[in-house]
């Protein structure tokens, strides 16, 4: 259990650092941190969808956009209270997630990727085109959640959402559903032959991850105060994929850490302009090529090897959240 405790310890330390950060950091880094939570939620939920369940979707940031826009329009257009509007956005994500999940039941691999890419593009193009509703590329103003200028409340809200999303996903993975999702990823036909209602679980995982992405988008919209269709462009999806893959596509904490590290790095290296993304593309290819499971699981394994040179790997070590 060496790496389980290692993973727990790392997560506890990182959580403590995240909780205490606003005491030490200036407003700029608190702002950056609050955005990082948005990506953390997206990367972790995408890792659940793509890494655990094997459903490689390019539509994940579109769900964030759906949540953000729906919540903003609920307030701005329908005049709903913010809380109601958010709930409505989540319901919309549930319905859309289930619909997409049902549509892609027969698609896998590159077909699924192309399908979700197209869906995502259609949605983004509608956001661009329907200016009367969305104000297109001008951007849709979104009311804030807290009075005052400080980003600290958003920072803690985002952190709280990340923790809650992680707890929920870890719980899901610890139940038999986690086992079934991995079985479906490994071989859908064999999973069916083993008595699993694959349809149900595939739709379920699309719904769960769509909801988390939508919550991320709702949070992001109300925090930043303006939404443009660029929230759902392909390079944004690329960023989320890179974060999850570099951190660990089959490790939820790996994906969160990947998101935070990649985002903080890209913010602190701003002086280097696009070189940052050259580096990111390179890192994505190299990690995939030489450490397919990502860097965090590699570090975990390394710590296990140091702690107990002889101990055999156990299942829980690999897949514990």
């Amino acid at each position: 259990m060496g790496s389980l405790s290692f993973s727990r310890a790392v997560q506890a330390v990182l959580l403590a650092v995240a909780l205490l950060l606003p005491l030490a950091a200036g407003p700029y880094w608190i702002h950056v941190g609050a955005i990082a939570w948005y990506y953390a939620m997206l990367a972790a939920s995408w890792a659940l969808l793509a890494g655990f369940a094997g459903q490689f979707s390019f539509a994940h940031v579109a769900f964030a956009a759906l949540g953000g826009y729906a919540s903003a329009l609920g307030v701005g257009l329908l005049g709903l209270p913010v809380g109601v509007s958010m709930l409505l956005a989540i319901v919309l994500a549930i319905v859309t997630g289930a619909l997409i999940g049902a549509l892609v039941l027969r698609l896998s691999g590159p077909y699924l990727a192309l399908f979700t890419l197209a869906i995502s593009e259609i949605f983004r193009l509608i956001l661009v085109a329907e200016e009367d509703l969305t104000r297109g590329m001008l951007g849709l103003p979104v009311p804030g959640l807290f009075s005052g200028q400080s980003d600290v409340p958003y920072y803690y809200l985002g952190l709280g959402l990340v923790v809650m999303a992680m707890l929920a996903m870890n719980w899901l993975l610890s139940t038999r559903v986690g086992l079934f999702l991995r079985a479906i990823r490994e071989d859908e036909g064999a999973a069916r032959a083993s008595g699993i209602d694959t349809t149900r679980y595939k739709i379920l995982v699309f719904v769960v991850t769509a909801v988390i992405a939508a919550i991320a988008g709702i949070y992001y919209g109300h925090f930043i105060g303006i939404l443009t269709p660029n929230i759902a462009i392909l390079p944004e999806m690329g960023l989320v994929i890179a974060m999850a893959v570099i951190g660990g596509i089959e490790s939820l904490p790996g994906a969160v850490i990947g998101a935070v590290v990649v985002f903080l790095l890209s913010e602190s290296l701003r002086a280097y302009g696009e070189w940052r993304f050259v580096l990111m593309g390179l890192a994505l290819i190299l990690v995939q090529r030489f450490a397919q499971n990502g860097l965090y699981p590699m570090i975990e394994q390394w710590s296990r090897a140091r702690a107990k040179p002889r101990a055999a790997a156990t299942v829980e070590d690999r897949h514990a959240g």
């Binding site: 038999r176 490994e186 999973a191 032959a193 083993s194 699993i196 209602d197 299942v315």
Partner: protein, 245 residues
């Protein structure tokens, strides 16, 4: 033959484009029976297994399991009903452990809890003599061990009907004996079994009844000795061999 057999298919058909993979296939199985299903390459054996386990929907025909017609139902419902299978080329959950491979089918029954599933899995592992591999990843297993694990995974469904697609193919002779013994034991313990394989010696050593398919059709069904003398069967085999060359 009993009026209401344990398992019966009638008029089964499946076409792929112009290929009649299975055509007008009917047979019944009594509870506890073991049937050898043989035939040249491409004669429709695997397709038959795919249909009667729900992996493929038949174009025509009925499949009755203990009296209820299940044709057209989803594969997981067949599995839940106790119709279990193995695959011609093992299809394990490669990046899951041997133990996890085994408890997946067990837990697909909502009423089974994890501790009891693991308990049963250990029993199955002991039966297959694979206990020492419980925590290994399935992909790390040898070819023969993968076949055994697939058998084990099917057993975890507490199957009443077990369909084995070429369990002897590519298996080391020493392991072959072991697998034959396992199948005999399972049948003795009351499992109804359909055994597909090209190794006729091995099949004959286990079953007393064989069904022969050629080009999707049933060409013979009966006692092994008789059937293998049947001129049409001989022709089907020699013909296919000549055709393959």
């Amino acid at each position: 033959m009993p009026a209401d057999p344990f398992f019966a298919v009638a008029g089964l058909a499946k076409h792929f484009g112009g290929i009649h993979a299975v055509e007008d296939l009917s047979f019944t199985l009594a509870r506890g029976e073991i049937l050898g299903l043989i035939g040249p390459n491409g004669s429709g054996k695997t397709t038959t297994i795919n249909i009667v386990t729900g992996a493929l929907k038949p174009d025509a025909g009925s499949i009755s399991v203990e009296g209820s017609d299940m044709a057209g139902q989803a594969a997981h419902l067949f599995a839940r009903r106790g119709v279990a299978r193995t695959f011609q080329v093992p299809r394990l959950f490669r990046r899951m452990t041997v133990m996890e491979n085994l408890i997946v089918p067990a837990l697909s029954d909502a009423s089974e809890r994890r501790p009891s599933a693991e308990e049963r899995a250990r029993g199955v592992l002991a039966f297959l003599k694979l206990e020492h591999l419980a925590d290994d990843y399935a992909r790390a297993l040898s070819g023969g061990q993968q076949k055994l694990l697939e058998l084990g995974r099917a057993l975890m469904l507490k199957p009443s009907l077990l369909l084995l697609d070429e369990p002897f193919a590519g298996v080391h002779p020493k392991l072959l004996e072991q697998i034959i013994e396992h199948i005999r034991t399972l049948n003795r313990d009351g499992h109804t079994i359909v055994l597909v394989d090209h190794n006729l010696d091995a099949v004959q050593s286990i079953v007393s009844r064989v069904l022969v398919m050629a080009r999707g059709r049933k060409i013979a069904d009966g006692a092994v000795a008789e059937v293998l003398q049947n001129p049409e069967v001989v022709r089907a085999y020699t013909g296919s061999r000549a055709g393959a060359q």
